[in-house]
Symmetry: C2
Subunit: 224 residues, 2 copies
Amino acid sequence: MENTIQLTVDAVVFGYEAGNISVLLVKRKYEPYQNAWALPGGFVLENENLEQAIERELSEETGVKINYLEQLYTFGDLARDPRGRVVSVAYFGLVKPNAFQLQASTDAELAEWFHIDTLPKLAFDHKKIFKMALERLQAKITYEPIGFELLDKKFPFSDLEKVYTTLLRREIDRRNFKKKMMSLKVLDELDEKISIGRGRPASLFSFNQQRYFQLKKEGIIFEI
Amino acid sequence: MENTIQLTVDAVVFGYEAGNISVLLVKRKYEPYQNAWALPGGFVLENENLEQAIERELSEETGVKINYLEQLYTFGDLARDPRGRVVSVAYFGLVKPNAFQLQASTDAELAEWFHIDTLPKLAFDHKKIFKMALERLQAKITYEPIGFELLDKKFPFSDLEKVYTTLLRREIDRRNFKKKMMSLKVLDELDEKISIGRGRPASLFSFNQQRYFQLKKEGIIFEI
DNA sequence: CTATATTTGCGTAAATTGTACGCATAATAT
DNA sequence: ATATTATGCGTACAATTTACGCAAATATAG
């Protein structure tokens, strides 16, 4: 039996900065869809697993180092790629603000961050993949502590709140949100404070992953 | 670039009968893992999509017709198959009791239902796939109305409750469970009653999928 | 035929969780 | 000094969840 099905990976990488959620795209250098924007990704090599393929492609095409990576869905429709039968395993990833800057490095292709509400036309079925990734992210921040993965290690509470209101596209009562989040026992309040512009300086918090795993093992679930 | 990655699909099919959750396995006819039990599945053909591949393999190997099918995860570790690099897209499925009987039909291989607590040793990484599927099913019945897919179209409330207590492995207060379930407005109480053994005869209920989709569109979510 | 066991169906009180919002505090801007 | 802004803390009320009592409708045992 001759095997003519090809396997690729694609990554939907989200970043957060100053109240905006962005996604990382690359401009295609070759046909098909030459010069169109697309999700970073490419063919899986025989001697690497799927996560390694994602990390290699991201490194080659964008130079971005991912902070959180999770498999999203596998797209296998017959006509999704004009080159023939190509099945793609999609992942979604999150990066911290410091990884946000794109160095126009080495042989990095043209990569850019786009606000999730103003994406350009995308190659292949990548629009559909992006849409599913965004829905997954929106759902997931309510039942897994992954919102922190978009922020620096130390962050003021208002930043976390902003990530939630931006992603969920609805207002959240600041005081109730903090009470709920603190009751989950996975945030440590640090001694440090930060003062940005005017207003009372904010305490910095950090996510205690060890405590989270501990609580998860005990069957206590994160839920906002 | 020569492509040597092969693509398969595997299905974790669950069935329910008389308080027991079972999973469908087939005995392998050829090497590798000859005569070992495995999840039904096989290579994806070039002219079929992934769901079609699942349905074809299930039909060929077991004759079982699936009632609910959902993609689970794609397994791509380097050494998961001794034949070489084989990536497998796993699905999980549910069947209704009437599809439970296995006809030793045509060229159906040896297929059998196994209680989920007493599975035999499985080929490849199928134990890992099964484990993930069970966890997904357990989680999913609490936030999507898929428990009904394991029951006949008409069912007494006690059957639904049994599906939940069996899968979640914990007692649920019968009265509160019914109140909660009815408050979701997706079950219709029929005029019919059923009497099994002694005790008061039970009303039959049916899942109103149309109403569910309606409510979902309005943003109302199913949650037990 | 009567008493008992069993399963379903309905309701209510208490405990827990969620929501709305008032007000003090600590900084900057005028 | 005073206004403005963002953070931090608390409290009353509403909604939901949980625990559990009891009646109704059947089968079974004596």
